[in-house]
Subunit: 354 residues, 2 copies
DNA sequence: TTGAAAGCGCTAACAA
DNA sequence: TTGTTAGCGCTTTCAA
């Protein structure tokens, strides 16, 4: 008979073994024993037994009793995206350092799924929730508030809970300006009708970026028209189609390209796969997202790195306040020049036998 | 008084409201009522009340009672990596489609942290565990077995539980061969001492890849020496250092480069950031990982895309068997030619107002 | 310094 | 067709 499914030891087992009551065992094992004035020696006895029998607390039972679980949630739109997965990485580290258990889930940018997912998390008596890139943060707020769960919006702001977001307006200005600057020494200067924005949709981040783009473009190039804005959603496929359509119509790409996110940038890649190098000979791309590989493409790619570390640090700071003000905290993103390979959260992970 | 932290409705509340007993309410609300032969009308009554009072089950209580939680875990080395985050993405979709709740956690490739993390998950009565890229799958197995938890290794195999891994040997042969082929029309053919492998360490995947690399290299180029293998660990920093050292010594890069993973590839990017374009004029890179941006760099980059969808599909299939054989299942990876932008899990996500 | 007892919300025999 | 009851493993008064 293998120790297959051997029942885990409980405080009652240890209670019997030690001759103490369950409540004493409980106190010893959850760290409250000093303030319950339990004798050092009994504590040691019980701790020894616990070790010996590989006791680990049943966290569901504890959670049920305390109506809190020790779980801290991060709700993401998607996992497989550099921005969000780096958020997940720093989130985990932060939560762990607070002695809690991180839970990361994605909801596909679908308002229904967001709500359902959050309900599930609440049903597990999650303690705190970080809501990143939610399409509908205020509804999520509703659920959290009703359940008395502390929560913070990240990346996309809500109107009912504190929000920490990237300064999309400033970032977009920076990026757009950098694109334009890049043409300073070009044979012919960049004309307003040669600078386009692709990607994004009608969410707060996109709107701010579009505003930043248009403002600085008008300032520097004197003009901007609606036609230069192509909000293709957050999908590589749609973005590719938009590029194909543009190319079909114009016979070339815009020389200056502001791309709303790495997801949209992948749409450009799909377009690239269908067209020869020469198509991209003369273009400058700015991408509102950072990807190290993207930074080394065969044309100048200027990128924006959103500062997930600072955003999360701020978010953790806020969530610990008793009554955080419902306001938006802007975090400045960073402009990344072409051919730059930044360090990331992975760099702090040790690599033993490297 | 806002509905701040208003207590959630329980089956007892509904029991009172409906005039039925708690067990009836419970049965109705967890779907077992048909087989408990509860009248359709009472079921409807209770469901109506539940809706009205926004009842949601306390999953910790249910889990405690059932000694299972409805949670399914995926243990990853890291989040912010394309391979693993795409694994997370498909994992979530799969788990959701089974009506369970996915939990993704990372453990930094640290055996201690892996064990601690799994213990925590077990303490939450997780139902099943998918162990991806664990440095020490067999110890993790020990914990799962003791707790009676079904588990499967992914990516890095263990000897005690079924494993689904990428066919690293074949993949490496494919990739190496493709690198060599690429020099067929070159001015001078590739010599054995011009083809190097960088990255990886002493884990199963790396060993297999190195074997595949060396075998096919010897077959095609007639020779391979230990000096051509540079296992720099899974860290961009170390890899960069290795490239710098090589360059310092030789005054140039190897013309043929097999890079063990995208993480190591980032090390090459960091090296690139310090050196002019010309340094890379003549090289061909093969990377054992797929990244769409990596595929479009200014030199030929051949990549391997590991088939996470198939791996997870197989893993789910196995975990559902009552007594799965402890064997290794190989999944064939895919060779990706330069300038290719593949579709990914994101493509199946709808994008509403695109 | 410790123990007894109640209860968190839910499920599943067993009875009725 | 439904209700009664016990208990999952833990914490926390309150009493000793």
């Amino acid at each position: 008979m293998k120790p297959q499914g051997k029942k885990k030891a409980t405080i009652y087992d240890l209670s019997v073994l030690s001759g103490c009551s369950a409540s004493t065992v409980s106190a010893v094992l959850n760290g409250t024993w000093r303030k319950r004035r339990i004798k050092e020696s009994t504590a040691e006895l019980i701790q020894g037994l616990a070790e010996q029998h590989q006791y680990t607390a049943n966290l569901q039972a504890r959670g049920l009793r305390n109506s809190r679980s020790g779980l801290v949630g991060l709700l993401l739109p998607v996992h497989d995206n550099r921005y969000f997965s780096s958020m997940a990485q720093t989130f985990e580290a932060q939560v762990r350092s607070h002695g809690k258990c991180p839970v990361v889930v994605s909801a596909s940018r679908d308002p229904q799924e967001e709500l359902a997912t959050v309900e599930t998390l609440i049903s597990y008596s999650i303690d705190e929730l970080f809501i990143a890139g939610a399409t509908d943060p205020d509804s999520v707020h509703g659920l959290c508030e009703a359940a008395g769960i502390r929560h913070i919006n990240i990346d996309l702001p809500g109107t009912k809970a504190p929000s920490v977001i990237s300064d999309n307006y400033q970032g977009a200005r920076l990026l757009t300006q950098a694109i334009i600057k890049r043409f300073d020494d070009a044979a012919s200067p960049l004309k307003p009708e040669e600078l386009f924005l692709f990607g994004g949709r009608n969410d707060h981040a996109s709107r701010e970026r579009i505003k930043g783009f248009r403002d600085i473009k008008t300032e520097l190039l004197g003009h901007d028209s609606d036609a230069c804005i192509q909000p293709t959603g957050y999908s590589p496929g749609m973005t590719q189609k938009a590029f194909e359509a543009f190319y079909e119509r114009e016979g070339k790409l815009p020389r200056g390209l502001f791309i709303n996110s790495s997801i949209n940038f992948e749409g450009l890649l799909r377009f690239m796969a269908q067209h020869p190098h020469e198509t991209f000979a003369d273009i400058v791309v700015g991408c509102y997202d950072y990807d190290p590989f993207g930074s080394f493409l065969p044309f100048p790619v200027i990128m924006i790195r959103q500062d997930t570390e600072s955003m999360l640090a701020k978010a953790f700071e806020l969530i610990e306040e008793t009554r955080p003000a419902v306001k938006i905290h802007l975090i400045q993103p960073e402009l990344v020049h072409p051919r730059t390979a930044l360090k990331g959260p992975l760099d702090s992970i040790r690599d033993i036998d490297a």
